[in-house]
Symmetry: C2
Subunit: 299 residues, 2 copies
């Protein structure tokens, strides 16, 4: 029987192993550990890395919180007006590298359970290169497709589309990066047991370290100059815009007294804004912009 | 008879005179002019300044737009389901100086009119010093109180409180800066005619240049070092957080296909984020944080 405690414990182990793999690949940066408690119940462990050899700023957060279910959750479950407890646990990661040639990455896996019996998994992983390189995007999506295909024939197609729609900066008409997969409300259905769905979530979580350390190793020594740094700062500005304006998890957390520093660990060390910046026609920056679109089949 | 055209024309003149006063005080920076049209009706003129002697990045935007009133506006006027046209015009300003010793400033004056007859004014002005100096905050509020007192005995008290509540970064439990005044839905009431209310809005708009050029002149040569620049970048990060997470005008604009570059001219040239930054006890940075609270009577 799969309990919420065993799911939580697996996430704790995932956080530890990812931090250890990232430290090993970075070779210099070390994670600090910041434990916190939630007034309403539960808490978390934020693990933060700064000024590594490859990673400039990043966080690998674990949390397991519980308490009175908020009204909007009750309403979405047709439980308005009743009393119920929720339990939520997950791991969230954002890594900002020093080099504009190494992509930003985000991953989240989570589990939600109600005392009234409902439960579901959610998660996602998406890649935000400062410069889009088709071969890197293909590698990333092939890896995710292989993970998905082990569990369900339509997961990759469905969740790739969901990621295109979710990681979209509407006011810029740009995707955040080259997408990835996103899924939510993964419930008991189509003959998949909770155990089977958890196996999928575990596969997604376990894919993070091999995928990202591949990009760290492959791209860390690529040459770049001041022009590439300036472009990186502008792209990080877009990352800030997505997270603060559109990301549902961030917005919900900030509006409901979540732990601000853990939520905003996703923000970059430095971001710049220039009025109406337009890359030169034919430049590699213009090429990147042309690829920040939904519906590209990278594989 | 006060027409929407005459209000719009006054705003156009205000934009011009403010740009001219800011250029004069800066002594080096020049505004560029960017005209744009709104697909649904109307348009605007964004005036942008970069790399002046005092101003690092700023915008003074005018717009006058019209079209089909959106459902949420109709609903708020109990006109749900009917068809009506809106007209909106205003001037919006945000200035980010180079020096951390010169405050960031924001001002907005606006007029809204419905084809069904309703109309109102709104606006506000607030100051965001990177380092709060009580004497500067007092100067600012005394100036605003004098403006308000010419028009209504309770405007300053009411609109100062409104600004404290509006320019509040809830997830940080901090005010954006030392506040100022904020008002909205200023309608026909308590014996004040539209002309009289417009006179108040004009006084607010006209107060911007003398107030801000005072701070430019007074603070431009104050010494600062790298520590003050780093603090400035963190405070600008908070400015980004307020604008993208809480500012109703920004959120509404971005969610309803407003002109993104004009809306986001408010963002700073550079902002930084550091996980859980805490200033040293007794430092001037800690002193500033202790003053970012609602309800301080600066006068």
């Amino acid at each position: 029987m799969l309990t919420k405690e065993s799911i939580r414990d697996w996430f704790i182990g995932l956080q530890q192993s990812i931090c250890s793999e990232l430290e090993k690949a970075d070779g210099q940066g070390k994670f600090i550990t910041d434990r916190w408690e939630r007034p309403g119940g539960g808490g978390g462990v934020s693990r933060i890395i700064n000024n590594g050899a490859v990673i400039e700023k990043g966080g690998v957060n674990f949390s397991a919180v519980h308490g009175q279910a908020p009204e909007h959750v009750l309403k979405s479950l047709n439980l308005s007006g009743t009393q119920a407890e929720f339990f939520a646990t997950g791991v969230s990661i954002v890594i900002h590298p020093h080099s504009p040639m190494v992509p930003i990455i985000h991953m989240n896996v989570r589990y939600f359970e109600m005392s009234t019996g409902q439960s579901w998994f959610g998660g996602g992983i998406d890649l935000t290169p400062h410069y889009v390189v088709e071969e890197d995007a293909r590698y990333f999506h092939q890896h995710l497709k292989a993970v998905c295909d082990q569990h369900h024939p339509s997961y990759y197609t469905d969740f790739k589309k969901w990621a295109d729609d979710y990681f979209f900066i509407k006011h810029r008409n740009e995707t955040r990066g080259v997408g990835g997969i996103f899924f939510d409300y993964l419930k008991e259905e189509s003959g998949f047991t909770k155990e089977q769905r958890f196996e999928f979530v575990k596969s997604v979580g376990s894919s993070f370290a091999p995928i990202y350390t591949h990009f760290m190793n492959q791209n860390r020594n690529l040459p770049f100059g001041e022009a590439e740094k300036q472009w990186q700062y502008l792209r990080r500005g877009r990352y800030v815009e997505f997270n603060l304006v559109w990301d549902r998890g961030t917005k919900f957390g900030l509006e409901t007294d979540g732990r601000t520093e853990s939520i905003l660990m996703s923000l970059p060390p430095q971001a710049n804004w220039t009025y109406n910046h337009q890359p030169l026609e034919g430049s590699k920056e213009a090429h990147t912009l042309s690829l920040l679109k939904k519906g590209i089949s990278w594989i």
